[in-house]
């Protein structure tokens, strides 16, 4: 698998639920160049300056507007409201990744998860989004993309 300059169009999403903590977490790992291309039409733009001291005041809202169009998670058939808990950058250059973390209290036992992940499929016909789901110690992986954007898991 290619990693430098990522011609493989890929993102990673990790969803975790542990009933003892009653906590549902979502962690998105997105290439920063893809985020910038999607939001401001320039992969190398410094306008939004994610996670920098001069981060644009509109950065989070633009990101959420975009994610709300192409991404959702429904826990027990109810969509969680995307509110960014924290973000971070990792990597360098073309491989810089923006991690976006969401966290929710989920007191009721989790019986189903429905995931839509079509991020960047508006940019790239061959975008693939890996989704790792860890629920109460059991792990599962999915690949979602333009053709298959939504999948439901039952527990």
């Amino acid at each position: 698998m290619q990693v430098a300059a990522h011609p493989l169009r890929l993102s990673l999403c990790e969803i975790e639920y542990t009933s003892s903590k009653q906590l549902l977490t979502i962690n998105l790992k997105l290439f920063l160049t893809d985020v910038n291309e999607a939001l401001v039409f320039d992969p190398y733009s410094k306008e939004l300056a994610f996670c920098q001291p001069n981060e644009s005041v509109k950065a989070n809202q633009l990101l959420l507007d975009y994610l709300n169009q192409f991404f959702y998670v429904k826990a027990n058939k109810k969509a969680v409201e995307l509110q960014i808990k924290r973000k971070k950058l990792s990597g360098e250059g073309e491989n810089t990744a923006l991690w976006v973390y969401f966290e929710y209290q989920q007191p009721a036992p989790l019986t189903s998860l429905e995931i839509k992940n079509a991020v960047f499929t508006d940019l790239f016909f061959d975008q693939n989004n890996i989704v790792y789901v860890h629920v109460n110690g059991k792990s599962n992986s999915l690949m979602l993309n333009k053709k298959t954007a939504v999948h439901q898991l039952k527990f």
């Binding site: 698998m1 990693v3 011609p7 320039d42 633009l62 790792y132 792990s139 992986s141 690949m143 993309n145």
Partner: protein
């Protein structure tokens, strides 16, 4: 370059036609030299074992509803390998790599990585069972030839990234029992086994870690090929020193031809000769050639950006329209592609430096691989055509397309038997 993939059954019809003509007269005078070379190449392609050592197709297998028995349009779906296209391209055998992205290196992370890896391996095995009329699971070097005789494609299993081994050496044997026959020690970030060529934090172990050395020893004992692709240069040198059997680079190119840290230096290529291992050429554009500038596109894009409304003031409809304009520019001024000539430039170089016995093919389909002329599994015969055009003989092509890898695979298994018999005595 011929686009043989555009006519689905063309490859085999042509082979049948050629076969039927073998006993008859020589090609007519009206045939061009090019046609004759292509015919010769297709005959060779049919006769030799064609083995691709690296495809990330298991990522496709976890896509809900994806069916390996169906033919997919790569330009519509991005998918590069399915069984109909392997048949169409005359690709006899392939290593499907179970890939788990590097994550947190603690007990929880390792446990999850193992579960995800086993899920991927199970997906591969299930796919071969479901399609047992056209493919078979292969675990030994000779299985590829046996399955070829049965008219079936051979499906081998590799693991890309040693992360799912975690810190538990016994996992190596677990994966071997599941059918895994090579492990790429590391991927895009350092793990507990080895340093990556692309980790932004640089080296952590100075190559292969102490635990990674034990993993290499266990792979030698069991008969799993040690794969150094994605490792930094020190990983290569450590692997050569540590491994008792020849090593492989399942998808790497020549750095002297394209200066990329994932490619191998001439010094490494020479050491591969001494080691007896093999470098498997990959179809990743950035590893095959330095992307030439695209000034027309850049200037058109800059002009479009200069006339954009401020982002915050755009409606969703305006954004959609603007996206379409950018996409139209990309289509109007595409980047010059990497082609099969670049691929064979790398093969030429490796043959010159390391010798004909140390090069093979590992396309990295479904992991970013795919170039003009070899865009998916249905087009791999174009590599053979280019090799024939450059004067490679059938015997040389046989080595490149699988013979070399199978030789290494056999040596790895022979070494494993030797180690096991010493341990038993």
């Amino acid at each position: 370059m011929l686009k043989l993939h555009q006519s689905y059954p063309v490859f085999f019809l042509l082979i049948l036609f050629i076969g039927g003509c073998k006993e008859k007269s020589a090609p007519t005078d009206s045939k061009t030299e090019e046609d004759k070379l292509v015919q010769k190449a297709l005959e060779i392609h049919e006769r030799v074992l064609t083995l691709d050592t690296h495809a990330d197709t298991p990522l496709r297998m976890i896509e809900p509803g994806f069916d390996m028995a169906e033919r997919h349009d790569p330009r519509e779906t991005g998918s590069k390998v399915d069984y109909p296209r392997m048949i169409e391209g005359g690709l006899d055998a392939i290593f499907f790599a179970a890939f788990v992205a590097q994550d947190i290196r603690d007990d929880d992370g390792n446990t999850r990585a193992k579960a995800l890896c086993l899920q991927m391996i199970d997906s591969i095995v299930a796919s071969t069972q479901k399609n047992s009329d056209i493919v078979g699971l292969a675990v030994d070097p000779d299985d590829a030839y046996a399955l070829e005789k049965e008219g079936k494609r051979a499906i081998y299993i590799g693991i890309e990234n040693g992360y799912p081994i975690g810190k538990d050496l016994s996992n190596v044997e677990l994966y071997f029992e599941k059918g895994v026959r090579y492990i790429t020690l590391v991927h895009s970030s350092n793990n507990d086994l080895a340093d990556s060529a692309t980790d932004p934090n640089g080296t952590e172990h100075g190559g292969i870690s102490d635990f990674g050395a034990k993993v290499v020893g266990e792979m030698n004992r069991l008969g799993i090929m040690v794969d150094v692709s994605h490792g930094n240069d020190s990983v290569f040198y450590d692997a050569v020193k540590l491994s008792k059997a020849p090593i492989i680079a399942s998808h790497s190119n020549a750095r002297a031809v394209t200066n990329h840290q994932r490619n191998m230096t001439d010094e490494m290529l020479k050491m591969m000769t001494e080691n007896g291992g093999v470098v498997q050429l990959t179809m990743l554009a950035d590893y095959l050639r330095e992307a030439p500038p695209n000034a027309k596109r850049d200037s058109a894009v800059a002009a479009l950006r200069a006339n954009m409304k401020p982002i915050g003031e755009m409606t969703r409809e305006e954004r959609t329209a603007l996206r379409k304009s950018f996409q139209e520019l990309n289509e109007k001024f595409p980047n010059p592609p990497a082609t099969v000539t670049h691929v064979v430039d790398h093969i030429d170089h490796i043959v010159k430096v390391a010798g004909i016995d140390h090069v093979g093919i590992g396309c990295d389909f479904d992991g970013g691989g795919g170039i003009e002329g070899v865009f998916d599994a249905s087009e791999v015969m174009n590599i053979t055509i280019e090799l024939v055009k450059r004067g490679y003989t059938e015997e040389q092509i046989r080595k490149i397309w699988g013979g070399n890898l199978i030789r290494v695979f056999k040596e790895v298994q022979a070494k494993a038997k030797e180690i096991q018999s010493i341990e038993a005595s």
